[in-house]
């Protein structure tokens, strides 16, 4: 529709998608999802997208610190911002206690690990520990989807993060996956300029997405690129925790 610079037409998006998928991504595997059967007999762009799944450890998280004998009760010194978080944590605690009762065989191994950790942290002052804002160092599972926005004529990144118990992250928690160095920049702008919550246009599940209204503006700087999608992703990807292998830049 738009003939301005910085936009990507649907047909070109599809071509770039195929190339993008086959590039030498080191530890990221992209799969193509085709949903054209959702609306048979109707010509609609945007029914095909790429997706990938990664396990990441949130940045700047301290290791679990135990001053109790239960390895899984590890929120020493955690500061809760609001009551709701606290209640949620309590529920998680209860769930894990139930799991504990079922897994008797693993207790011995756990006790050994506990002792090791206790030795490591026994030198720390109690006050010191309580002052630190500690979190679980549990890995998050993150799904990234590259879709096409026919409104803005550009790609748009949808993503969702899940904790190890399957729970999705909330709007406040999702900032955990944004690398620290980008957080300060984005804190300057209000939330809705960058990340928002929305139904995934094809899966209809709640997802987060990076707002595409500024994409065509910054993509005007990359008009010489051979692969619009890769250039775009090299900007957006790292901001939401996906590292782009440097070898890929030879393909631009």
């Amino acid at each position: 529709m738009s003939t301005g610079f910085g936009v990507l037409e649907w047909e070109k998006f599809l071509q770039d998608l195929q190339v993008f998928k086959k590039l030498p991504w080191k530890d990221t595997e992209w799969t193509l999802e085709d949903h054209t059967d959702m609306f048979p007999n109707i010509k609609l762009p945007g029914l095909i997208f790429l997706k990938t799944k990664k396990w990441v450890l949130p940045e700047n998280k301290k290791c679990e610190q135990n001053l109790t004998t239960n390895l899984q009760e590890s929120k020493v010194g955690k500061k809760f911002d609001n009551e709701e978080e606290e209640k949620e944590e309590e529920k998680e605690k209860e769930k894990e206690k139930e799991k504990d009762e079922d897994e008797d065989d693993e207790d011995e191994e756990e006790k050994e690990e506990e002792e090791e950790i206790l030795e490591t942290f026994s030198d720390l002052d109690e006050e010191e520990i309580e002052d630190q804002n500690t979190y679980y160092q549990t890995p998050l599972s993150i799904e990234y989807h590259i879709l096409y926005s026919s409104t803005y004529s550009c790609p748009v990144l949808y993503f969702n993060a899940y904790r190890s118990d399957g729970r999705t992250l909330s709007q406040t928690e999702i900032w955990e996956i944004i690398p620290q160095k980008y957080r300060k920049e984005f804190e300057k702008e209000t939330n809705f300029h960058f990340i928002s919550r929305k139904e995934h246009p094809l899966l209809e599940l709640p997802f987060f997405f990076v707002h595409p209204c500024n994409t065509s503006r910054f993509m005007q700087n990359y008009y010489k690129t051979k692969n619009y999608l890769l250039s775009w992703f090299s900007v957006i990807g790292p901001a939401v925790g996906v590292k782009v292998p440097s070898i890929l830049f030879t393909h631009l």
């Binding site: 529709m1 109707i42 026919s150 803005y152 939330n191 809705f192 928002s196 209809e204 209204c213």
Partner: protein
């Protein structure tokens, strides 16, 4: 013509839907006597989220008896959850008037305190819903102006005023808030239309005018694109815009200017009868 558009918009904003909220049937067997339902009159253009506290306060007294500790709930029509981010009128047109069941007034909803289904977005607070509304509004503005400059004009102040206009259900306040954006409906480059075809959302970018013939595009053109016209007749279906069925030859530009929701989109709800 402009006065007509303002009149229609004002009427849409003032239009309300009567609803009755009962406890979900899974709870009624646990009660000694039936709990009184909540009757409400809710605006078509607004979101049920604004009444969330009122609804919770009404049902709070019975939660102890049901041994329910959480404050979170969702509403459902039969088994269909009412999404907080769908305008009430759109949801009503989707489920009530578009089914083969006889039209029931008031719209009967059930309140459920269990975990909602996966496709349901749980908004933790009003700010989240505001962010959702803001990104939708930005999208519709971009479509109507087809330039990024308009999205830059939408400052935080303007967005907050628009949101307040919606909460206060004042079309005048809303109109004044969007004036600085200078959206000119006569020179639209694209229309902001969301089509709910059998409950699935299609966002189609359509120009208001056929580029070859320079004629105004109508609903018929949308139906053609959606493969809903066979042998020069419309397939058996019902379609609604703000609760009414306009003539298929109505120009889309007029519909967009007169019947759009506060988020800037014109919602066309189509249910095929098969």
């Amino acid at each position: 013509m402009e006065r007509t558009i303002v009149q229609i918009n004002t009427e849409n904003w003032n239009c309300k839907i009567p609803i009755i909220i009962n406890l979900s049937s899974k709870y009624t067997t646990q009660l000694q006597k039936p709990f009184r339902p909540l009757f409400m009159s809710v605006p078509r253009s607004s979101y049920l989220y604004f009444d969330k506290e009122k609804i919770f306060t009404h049902f709070e007294p019975v939660l102890k008896e049901l041994e329910i500790n959480n404050k979170n709930f969702y509403l459902q029509f039969n088994s269909e959850p009412v999404k907080w981010n769908t305008p009430i009128g759109v949801f009503f047109d989707m489920v009530c008037k578009s089914t083969n069941l006889p039209e029931k007034m008031p719209m009967s909803l059930q309140i459920n305190f269990e975990k909602p289904p996966k496709k349901f977005i749980e908004f933790e607070n009003e700010t989240e819903l505001y962010n959702y509304f803001a990104s939708t509004f930005k999208e519709s503005c971009f479509l109507l102006a087809k330039s990024a400059t308009i999205t830059q004009k939408i400052t935080e102040n303007i967005m907050a005023n628009i949101w307040n206009g919606l909460k206060n259900l004042s079309f005048d306040e809303y109109k004044r808030s969007i004036q600085p954006l200078e959206i000119n409906y006569k020179e639209q480059s694209s229309l902001a239309i969301r089509i709910l075809l059998n409950k699935k959302c299609i966002q189609k970018t359509t120009k208001p005018v056929n580029q070859e013939t320079e004629e105004l595009l109508t609903l018929l053109d949308i139906f053609k694109d959606l493969d809903l016209i066979k042998e020069e007749k419309l397939v058996p279906m019902t379609y609604l815009i703000q609760g009414i069925t306009p003539d298929p030859n109505t120009p889309l530009a007029f519909l967009s200017a007169s019947f759009s929701h506060p988020d800037g989109f014109l919602y066309l709800i189509i249910t095929t009868l098969n």
